[in-house]
Structure formats: C-alpha cells, structure tokens
C-alpha cells in the first residue's frame, strides 16, 4: 500500500468530472420536484441522453452537437412522462418507473451499432497563464466546457428560483397547485416546462458519462446515477447549492475509493465500492436535519375542477 501515489490535485480535478453527470441530473430533477412533480424516470432519461448524444456525436463528429442531441433526447423521453402524468393523469410513481425501464431498453436498441467506438473529444479549457498555474490551474481551469456549464446551471436555477417571478410561480405551483390555479396560473403548462427541463438536464448528464467521463458506449452505463440523483434531491432539501455539495461529495468519494483500490489498501473492494453511497447519504441526512421540507404538492396529480 502506498498512499503517496494519490495526487490530491488530480484527485480533486477528477472528482469534479465524476460528479458532473450526477450534478446535471439532480438539478433537473430538483426543478421538476419544486414544480410538484415526482419523476422517477431520471435513470431512463439519462441513458437515452447518453446514447442519443453518443450517436449524434459520432455521426457528426462534434461533441457539441452530441450534447445538444442528448438534451433533446432526454426532453423527448420526458414528453412521454408528460403525456402519462399531466395529460392522462396517470400515477407519477408508476409512470416514472416505466420511463426508466423503457429508457434502458430503448437505449440498448439504439446503441447496438455503437459499441466499441470512440467518440470525438471535447476540447478542454486552456486559458493562458490561468490554466498553467500550479495546483489551481488543473483543478479549476483545465476542464471541458460542460463541467462549467453544469455549475452555471446550478447558479442559474438558484437565481431563478430565488429572485425571479417565474421562479416564484414555479415554487407556488409546487407548493399548492389548487391555490395557484385559483389565482389563474397555468399549473399544467408550468409543470410540463419543468419536466422538459428536467429531461434535458438528465440527458446532458447521461451524455457527459458516454462522451467525456468514460468515453464510450456500453449498455446500462449510467449504472444507477439517476437513482442517486433522486435521493440527492431529497437530501439536498430541494436547495440548488446543496446539490453541488452532495454531488461533489459523492464524486469525491467515488474517485477516492478508486484511488485507494489502486493503491492496494487492505480493505475489501466491496466496502470501498459502497462507501460513496453510505458517506453521501450520512452527510446529507445530517445536513437535512433543518426544518426545510418537500414541496407540499409533490407527487399529487393536479386535476382542474371547473
């Protein structure tokens, strides 16, 4: 065992990469839940985003177009959820689970001819001087652009929810859809937009795995990140910045345990592999001990009685 093999700078840089798919999926689901909808189909939307992004990136040889396609793919799949829950008023839990199962199957079908191919790479940020700084350079200024976009999305969601009227209306719809309807707000329309945003974010998260983190296509490669995202929304108490904290914590321990495995630490691999889940959940449970609570209309179907 040789812990000195672990380079803290590289560790931090790679934890940010490891956390980004989770970050994207979670912030999308956070917006959906703030609007009062529980979409358990995050995993399905991620994997569909992963393959749509991968396929388009390979065909067009552009990672950017790939990400665009991933966002569209996730959003299109979430339209199915919209149709089921907002139009047909089906049960949200069952619809979300169906979406995940459907997404996993669909992605395998779409991805058959893409196994073993290498996708086009996305250029990393290279700012003269800044990127060359010791320590800070590799941690902050040498990543792919999407990692920064993910953080900007967090900041944007926080600002919109806190400071804008659109955010206030979104929160109001999630808090009490009957009252929002009585005041004349279009509950279903607002929820549909939130669900589409959630789908697009999940799609981006999936494509980040297939285009940057891994980067290649294998079936079921999202490996449960969508489910972690769902748990993370709850533990983050529906607050955007806590999502960043939780995602980086999870990503950090994932990367750390890989490094520890490589360094040959005398702990069974299985314990190391489960550690990110345990630690993230424990820390976030402690954090979520404050009085914040779920949006009051979460998961309740809305039916406008005339």
């Amino acid at each position: 065992m040789d812990l000195s093999q672990i380079n803290p700078v590289l560790l931090i840089a790679s934890l940010m990469v490891a956390a980004t798919p989770l970050l994207l999926a979670t912030i999308g689901e956070l917006v959906v839940e703030r609007a009062g909808v529980l979409n358990l189909g995050v995993e399905g939307m991620m994997i569909v985003g992963a393959i749509s992004g991968f396929a388009v990136a390979v065909e067009t040889d552009s990672a950017w177009l790939g990400f665009l396609a991933a966002a569209v793919g996730g959003a299109v799949l979430s339209l199915l959820f919209v149709l089921l829950t907002q139009v047909a008023l089906a049960n949200q839990v069952a619809s979300g689970l169906a979406l995940t199962l459907f997404g996993l199957g669909l992605s395998s079908l779409m991805g058959q001819s893409y196994v073993g191919i290498k996708p086009p790479a996305m250029a990393r940020l290279d700012i003269p001087v800044l990127s060359d700084l010791p320590v800070i350079g590799p941690i902050l200024f040498r990543h792919d652009p999407l990692l920064y976009i993910a953080i900007l999305i967090i900041a944007g969601v926080w600002a919109v929810l806190t400071f804008t009227r659109a955010g206030l209306i979104l929160r109001a719809v999630g808090e009490n859809h009957d009252a929002a309807h009585a005041l004349g707000y279009k509950v279903v329309r607002i929820r549909i937009m939130a669900i589409l945003f959630g789908g697009a974010c999940a799609g981006l998260g999936g494509a980040y795995i297939s285009l940057i983190r891994v980067p290649q296509w294998t079936e079921g490669m999202t490996a449960g990140v969508g489910w972690i995202a769902l748990a993370l929304v709850v533990f983050a108490s529906w607050k955007p910045w806590r999502v960043l904290l939780g995602a980086y914590l999870f990503g950090g321990i994932t990367v750390l345990q890989l490094n520890l495995q490589a360094a040959g630490v005398a702990i069974p691999v299985e314990y190391l592999a489960m550690s990110p889940y345990v630690v993230t959940i424990v820390v976030l449970v402690i954090l979520s001990a404050d009085k914040s609570r779920a949006p009051a209309s979460l998961g309740r179907p809305f039916h406008a009685t005339s």
Binding site: R165, L168, I169, R171, A172, E175, N176, D178, A179, A180, A182, L183, G184, Y185, K291, R293, P295, A296, S306
Partner: protein, 505 residues
C-alpha cells in the same frame, strides 16, 4: 342605492347531473355590501366563480358598469377590478407574506417596494401584518388578512368574500367588519357570501337568497329576522332542536393534567387540559380552528396515547389504550374530517359501518366478518338518520357532505356509547341535516350518555351544550354553564382578538 356596478342576467351553469345555477339575476350597486345567502349546494360558490372568471357560464350575461363583462380567466377579472377572498385560503404555506401577495398581482413591484406598500395598506385598514413572515406560521385571522391585503393592493371595485368569518373569533369578526365598512364607505362594493344570518344582518345592505341554484328571494337584512331568512334559504319551516330536561349522573369521562405533543408539524400541542363530563351532559368545546381541536379528539379517541391516569372512563384509567379498546369500553368518537378520517372514501357504507362498529355491534367472529349483520347495521343507520343514498353498497365518497355526516354520526350514536366525542358534527352540512344531527346528540345525552361536542359554530354550542369551554393555543378554559353566557365572554374565553389590533377607522 347608487349606480349599478355589476348586473347579472340569467346566468346558468350545469354540471353533469346537477344544475348549479339556473337563471340567476341580481344587481350590485357601487359601495353596496351585498349578501349572497344559501345553504351548501345552493350554488353560491359556482356563481362567484363565474363572476371571478374561474368558471364559464353556459348561458346568461354579466354587465360591469354598463359594459358587457365575460372574464375568460381570473386575470381578466382582476384587471377589471374584481378581487376575491377565498373560503379555503388560497395561500402558499412555505412562502412569505410578500411572496404570496406578489403571486396574486399582475405586475408586482420589486419586493422591497411591495413590502412597504403592504405595510402602508395594512396600517390604513387596521390589519397590521409583517411582509416577511412565513405564511405557514400565521394564525387563521392573519392568513385572511394576507388575502384581503392581496385584494386591496389591486384597488378593487368589487370584493368577493366567500365565508370569511368561519375561522375567526367574535373579536376578529368585529375587526374585519370595521375594515369592510370602511371599504364600502370608500365606494368598494362587497359581495359577501355566508350562511351566518346574524352577521349578514349586522353588515349587509341587501341580500339575495339562493336555493338549489335559483334565486328564491331578495330582502333587506336589517329589516328581516334571521328566522325568516333561514326559512327562505331552506324553503321549509325550520325545526329547532328541543332539549329535554334531564338529570346528570356521575362523572363519565375525566381528563386531568393532560399534555400531549401534536403529531403534525403545524399542529398545536395540548397543555395541561382538565375536563370532566357527566352522564347526560353535553360539554361544548369552542375555539378557532387549529387551537388543538384535532389533538384533543385524538387523545380522547386513543389515536394519541397519554399517561394512563390522564384519561379516565368511569374511574378506569384508559390513557394507554388504543381506539379499539376504548370503543369496547364505550368511548366512541367521530372526527371532523369526514373523508379519510371518519370514513374511508372508497369503501361502501357497509364496510364503513364495520370499521367502527365491529366490536360493539358484534359484527365479526374469530376474525371473520359477518357481512349480513354489517349490512343490517348499515341499513339501520341509513333508516334512522335519513341518509339519502341508493343503498348500503354505495361508496362513502359518493354521498354529499351532509348525508355522509349523518351517516358518520349515526354510526356512533347507534352503538349506544357511554361517552361520545364529536368534532364539528355539522360542518358543511345544510340547515335541516344539522338540526337532525343536533337533535340526535341531545337525544343521546337525554338517554344518559355523556357527550363532548367540539365545534367552531358558537350558535350550535349554545343550542346544545350544557357547559361551554374554549380551546386556545392548546389550553382549555374553565367550563362554564352556557345559560347566560354572552358573546363577549365567549370571545374572551377563545383568546380575544389574539393580540390583533382593533381597526382604528
């Protein structure tokens, strides 16, 4: 009467199976306080929803200040100067006062300006309110203020108020009436919906009475007695419950030094409750909603367990017993929420009868249900309490509020309770059904049972209770005989104006 503000001509709205409004016509003058009077299901709510643009009429027209008026949505109604305070508050618990108000405005100013304007308007009308408090922490009276101020900031020409006083103490009602009179004097018309006749007589200039969706009469409330208006509403002569003279027996239920935390986050903890109710007595417990009524029912029914000695039934400590054990001993309860607490909405009346009656009515043996006995019991309830339903196989949800309430109360009364605890026995029930329920409670007491009636309807408590006590923030006042108790005294027992300032207008 001054110029006509809003005139309504032949409005009709039908839902599948029901005509909610049929050819309704009336006029509201500027600055007039106009009452809309009627029983539950008379079509008052549908009518105001049409005025507010939430529901589109099937036929008929409205004219606002001479111009045709047909709001496609509430936004348009608000733009035309029509504002509405809802019966069930349309507020968002997790947001603060200013955010709630901003949601009800078309183009709200920045938060800081809005907060300042909220302070100004609330001071002007004697309704002080802190814009930055979270609505979930406010009392019912303060929540209503939020709604009223939300309306006032839009400078309305017509303010619609749907049952505004159902959650207020008498003192809070006085403050509200002061505000409404000031608004009316400034030229704002008020459409006031209520079935509380004395309030309408005190406040309103003119009343339109609805029954089964039709206008059945108009009157000037100040010149009409409450009884005449009630009979217009119901369409028949009202029967007042009669109280037979009766002897009080020994103490049936004794609660002493009872404190209990509330199971829900926004609930009220009970603090050091003492009460004793005797055989043949009706103890009325008043108080504004949310002051511990649900929790008191829960500790008496056995849903919340307490130290054994805190609750005694005929001298026997039962504080650690659950609801089933208490039922077996003769302590029965009927909670407030009909659908989901007193009755399982999607189960049939027979199944609902089984749910509480299985022990005392002997409807099960060795874990097997006696279906025919249960159905007989359900039929007995339906027959003796005049529950209007196709039969005992009907789902509880399909019954109207009044009929289900008669069923729920009847189910307990027919199990020959030693002690019966009811919470809001006539809430949302029409006047004739309410009279029948009150009569059943009085008859039960006359036969020697002890009854605790928790209610927010003070008139009801004065009518049936022998003694009255009030719940205020989880504390129970000393019970006093109802005879000779004045409204002011009751108001003070209920906690006065909850520290709310009286309007200086």
């Amino acid at each position: 009467m001054t110029r006509t503000l809003l005139s309504i001509n032949g409005l009709t709205k039908a839902y599948p199976g029901v005509v909610a409004n049929s050819e309704v016509s009336f006029e509201i003058g500027e600055g007039q306080v106009h009452a809309l009077l009627g029983e539950n299901g008379a079509g008052k709510s549908t009518l105001v929803k049409m005025i507010y643009g939430l529901v589109k009429p099937d036929s008929g027209t409205m004219t606002l200040r001479g111009a045709p008026y047909a709001p496609p949505e509430p936004r348009a109604a608000r733009a035309d100067g029509i504002a509405m305070v809802f019966q069930h508050f349309s507020l968002f618990d997790a947001l603060n006062v200013a955010e709630n108000i901003a949601l009800g405005m078309e183009t709200p100013p920045p938060m800081r300006d809005l907060a300042r304007r909220i302070r100004e308007v609330s001071e002007t009308y004697g309704l002080p309110l802190d814009p930055y408090r979270t609505v979930g922490d406010l009392s019912a009276g303060e929540r209503q203020r939020v709604e009223i101020i939300r309306c006032l900031l839009q400078d309305p020409k017509l303010l619609i108020m749907d049952e505004p006083t159902s959650v207020l103490t008498p003192q809070e009602v006085n403050i509200l009436f002061g505000t409404l009179r000031k608004l009316s004097a400034e030229g704002t018309a008020i459409l006031y919906i209520s079935h509380k006749l004395e309030e309408i007589r005190a406040l309103c200039d003119h009343a339109t009475v609805l029954r089964l969706g039709k206008v059945v009469g108009e009157c000037t409330p100040r010149e009409t007695t409450a009884r005449e208006m009630a009979e217009l509403m119901v369409g028949t002569a009202l029967q007042t419950p009669t109280r037979a003279g009766r002897d009080m027996g020994g103490v049936a239920l004794d609660v002493s030094g009872l404190s209990a935390a509330s199971p829900s986050a926004f609930g009220t903890a009970l603090k050091n409750i003492h009460l004793a109710v005797r055989e043949g007595e009706v103890l009325g417990i008043g108080g504004v909603a949310g002051n511990g009524q649900d929790e008191l029912l829960a500790v008496l029914s056995g849903e919340i367990l307490t130290p054994a000695d805190a609750v005694k039934l005929k001298g026997r400590p039962i504080g650690r017993m659950g609801p089933t054990a208490r039922r077996a001993l003769g302590l029965l309860t009927a909670p407030e929420e009909r659908l989901g607490h007193a009755a399982a909405p999607d189960m049939s009346l027979t199944e609902n009868a089984l749910l509480t009656g299985s022990i005392r009515e002997n409807l099960e043996s060795n874990g097997f249900l006696k279906w025919s006995a249960a159905e007989t019991f359900a039929r007995k309830i339906i027959k003796s309490f005049d529950v209007r339903t196709p039969g005992p196989g009907t789902a509880a949800r399909a019954l109207s509020g009044g009929n289900l309430q008669k069923f729920v109360i009847g189910r307990e009364v027919l199990q020959r309770p030693e002690v019966l605890v009811v919470n809001q026995p006539t809430w949302g029930v029409d006047a004739s059904a309410a009279a029948a329920i009150r009569q059943a409670i009085l008859d039960l007491a006359a036969s020697g049972a002890a009854v605790i009636c928790i209610s927010q309807d003070l008139d009801e408590l004065m009518e049936i209770a022998d003694r009255f006590a009030a719940l205020n923030e989880g504390r129970l006042s000393e019970p006093r005989p109802t005879q000779g108790l004045s409204v002011e005294e009751i108001g003070l027992m209920m906690g006065g104006a909850h520290g709310m300032e009286v309007a200086h207008v």
